[in-house]
Symmetry: C2
Subunit: 265 residues, 2 copies
């Protein structure tokens, strides 16, 4: 199976799928081959197989994009099939009260993985997307996950470079540790223009049956508005309801539910 360069055809085909991301949702064959450091002929043959199966599609501009069939199959994974389905009705209740962006997230490796998002026309436009990843130290849902993680995980996280998303992002490890302690003291996380200028957020942890943080629930508003704390009682109430259903459905995120180990750095 392994070829001259030690990679199998299957892992090379998967690499082609992994070449797409939110900044590169469509790619030409040449771009695909270049991004995967693969000879054009190899890329051509593997892309044809992926296209025949429906994993890739070609659009009207003859560029490749991820196929509808892969979306359908991806929705069978536990995060959308279980966690997302459980959280959405409670998020809907929060949305109706607040008319703001509502997020439900889990930790995957060192990232905040957005499991579900509700938004409307009155909510402030934000960059989060379902299935997208953002840092943990710059987002409300991320800080809620990080503040309640194990001390060992917090130490590892703070020892890594902290990406600066805006001039308000906390990028000093000592300051981040104090911020996480303050988050635990008050019971909820806050951000103020730390991910995106003009937006601030509030988020609470969702605990599993063993009182470990399993997910987080948050809300993003326009930064000129005040008193994010007023949303906390509703967030906590819905987080408790989500936690209850997750326990009933045995949606314990560790192990195997989301990745406890970082993937790809």
């Amino acid at each position: 199976m392994a070829q001259g360069n030690g990679r199998s055809a299957t892992s090379r085909a998967l690499d082609l799928l992994g070449a797409f991301d939110i900044r590169h949702p469509t790619l030409t064959l040449t771009e695909l081959a270049a991004r995967c450091a693969m000879p054009l002929a190899t890329a051509h043959r593997l892309v044809a197989e992926l296209e025949a199966w429906g994993a890739l599609e070609r659009n009207a501009d003859n560029r490749y994009q991820i196929g509808t069939r892969l979306w359908e199959i991806g929705l069978l994974s536990p995060v959308p099939r279980r966690l997302r389905e459980i959280a959405l009705p409670f998020m809907q209740d929060l949305y109706e009260k607040s008319k703001e962006n509502i997020h439900f997230a889990v930790r995957d490796g060192h990232d905040t993985l957005y499991v579900a998002k509700l938004t409307g026309h009155r909510a402030v436009p934000i960059i989060s997307r379902e299935g997208n990843r953002l840092p943990m130290h710059s987002t409300g849902v991320g800080k809620a996950l990080l503040a309640y993680a194990s001390q060992e995980f917090i130490d590892t996280y703070c020892a890594r470079p902290l990406v600066r998303c805006t001039r308000h992002t906390i990028v000093e490890p000592g300051r981040l540790r104090r911020e996480l302690a303050a988050t635990r003291d008050r019971g909820y996380a806050l951000t103020s223009e730390e991910m995106t200028l003009g937006s601030c957020s509030v988020a609470v942890p969702v605990f599993d049956a063993r009182d470990q943080v399993a997910a987080s629930l948050g809300l993003v508003v326009h930064s000129v508005r005040e008193n994010l704390a007023k949303y906390v009682p509703d967030l906590k109430a819905e987080a408790a309801k989500i936690a209850k259903v997750m326990v009933e459905h045995r949606c314990d995120p560790y192990p195997g539910f989301v990745h406890d180990l970082p993937r790809g750095g």
Copy 2:
């Protein structure tokens, strides 16, 4: 690349992913091999590659499931990335007015493909799921898509066996044709316990720049309630807004956006 039996390793690996469906979201290695008519040793080797990349994961019961990474990549396909993002805020407005299940669907082959769904605690529980397929003749969004399809497509659809979902499903081709004509006359589709006992629905077509049906928008309510027509003005208003944004974003579903040809029968 092609092996003794004429199938490449890549297409066999893809077959393993295709073995999962909503009724089989987790499978053992033995079940996977059986569903793909593949020797256990071959399945074992390919599953290991899929797992290493993150396309498959093993859960606490040692059963395989679709991996989070495949969900993330599937979300890059145009249906969720573009259509779903466009439709959701308008669906949110409809949900707030009705508190009922809201659906946005496209035609893919001979199926209704559910692109987006909004639901809450007050809405009646229904079987639709995002990324799921249901027949066109038994669902409101499906009938709205079918009624406005080309005569050629309607002929082909009516010539195929019409699956009976409940005792109320229209399974006689002649009756279905009359129902589709009535749908066009009144400008919206209705179902009454044709997909699920206890539910009825109303849906309207969403037209593209060439006045072809591109999608449909519908609402599912509990069957005891009356006067589904009361929802039509709001549905039509939101459908028109979605159509406008789709045209602005060049979200023309044919060709290459969804499949005009049936896939896998």
